[in-house]
C-alpha cells in the first residue's frame, strides 16, 4: 500500500513539475519573443494563466500523499540517515519539509494572482509566487528522488 502511495506521489509530482516549470518559464515572456521559432521560445510561448488551478490541485494532492508517507520516512529512512551520518541528506529533507509547507500556504495568494481577469497590480506577485512555487517543487522533487535512492547512492 505504502509503495503504491509512494509511486503515486512521485507520478503526481512529475505532473506538477511539468506544469509549474512551463508556467514559470512562460510568466515573464514578452510578446515579440513568442514569435521566434526556437525550442525555448516555443516552450515559453504557452498561456501561463492556464496552469494556475492545475498547479494548485496537483500541489495539494502531492502534499496530502507526502503527509501520509511522512511517518514511514521517520521510521525507516531518517534513522538510516542518522546512522550513516548523512547530515546534508537529513538537512535537505528538513528544508523540503519547510518549503513544501510555505509553498502550500502561499497557494491561496498564488491562485488569487492568477485568477481571471488578470489584475495588472498583481503582475509582480504572479511572477515571484510562480517562481517560488517552482523553486519549492524542484527542490522537493530532487530531494525526494535522492532520498528514495539513498541506499544505492551511499551503500
Amino acid at each position: 500500500m505504502m509503495t503504491a502511495l509512494l509511486i503515486l506521489h512521485g507520478l503526481i509530482a512529475v505532473a506538477l513539475l511539468g506544469a509549474v516549470t512551463h508556467q514559470a518559464l512562460a510568466v515573464g515572456i514578452r510578446r515579440n519573443e513568442a514569435r521566434t521559432r526556437s525550442f525555448i521560445a516555443r516552450f515559453r510561448a504557452t498561456d501561463a494563466s492556464a496552469y494556475g488551478t492545475a498547479v494548485v490541485v496537483l500541489y495539494v494532492a502531492v502534499m496530502v500523499l507526502g503527509a501520509l508517507l511522512y511517518p514511514r520516512y521517520r521510521v525507516l529512512v531518517r534513522p538510516l540517515l542518522q546512522t550513516l551520518d548523512l547530515r546534508s541528506a537529513n538537512g535537505a529533507f528538513e528544508l523540503k519539509e519547510h518549503l513544501s509547507a510555505v509553498g502550500l500556504l502561499l497557494l491561496p495568494a498564488y491562485w488569487a494572482c492568477w485568477k481571471q481577469p488578470l489584475a495588472q497590480e498583481y503582475a509582480p506577485g504572479r511572477l515571484w509566487l510562480t517562481w517560488l512555487v517552482a523553486l519549492t517543487v524542484w527542490w522537493n522533487f530532487m530531494t525526494g528522488q535522492v532520498l528514495v535512492a539513498i541506499k544505492g547512492l551511499f551503500p
Binding site: E94, L105, A112, Y122, P124, W128
Partner: protein
C-alpha cells in the same frame, strides 16, 4: 487588494506564523509515530520522537484563517500588492537560513 485580498492576507499571515511555529516550536499537536496517534500534550520521551510538522502546519493554517477574517475590509485596500510575494519570499529565505546548519 480588493477582490482576493483575504486569500492574500491568509498566505502572508500563515507564512509568517509557520516560520515562527517551527522556530519557537508552536506545534498545535504532535503525532507520535510509535503509537500512531495525535496528542495535544507532549508525552514523555519514552513515547519516542514526535512529528511536529503537522502541528506547525495546523498552527499556521488556523492563524492565517483568523487573520484573513479579522483584517477589516478598509485595511485590505491599503495593503501594498507587493506584500503578497515579499512575505512568502522572506519565509522561504528564513527556512533556507535556518536549515543551513545541516550543510556547514
Amino acid at each position: 487588494m480588493k477582490v482576493h485580498g483575504r486569500l492574500m492576507v491568509f498566505s502572508a499571515a500563515a507564512s509568517v506564523i509557520y516560520t515562527l511555529a517551527y522556530y519557537f516550536d508552536w506545534s498545535l499537536f504532535q503525532y507520535y509515530v510509535a503509537e500512531g496517534r495525535f496528542h495535544f500534550l507532549r508525552l514523555p520521551e519514552s513515547a519516542g520522537p514526535p512529528i511536529l510538522w503537522y502541528g506547525w502546519l495546523a498552527t499556521a493554517t488556523l492563524a492565517g484563517l483568523a487573520a484573513a477574517f479579522v483584517v477589516p475590509r478598509r485595511l485590505l485596500a491599503w495593503l501594498p500588492a507587493d506584500l503578497v510575494w515579499l512575505i512568502p519570499f522572506a519565509a522561504v529565505l528564513a527556512a533556507v537560513m535556518y536549515e543551513l546548519r545541516w550543510f556547514l
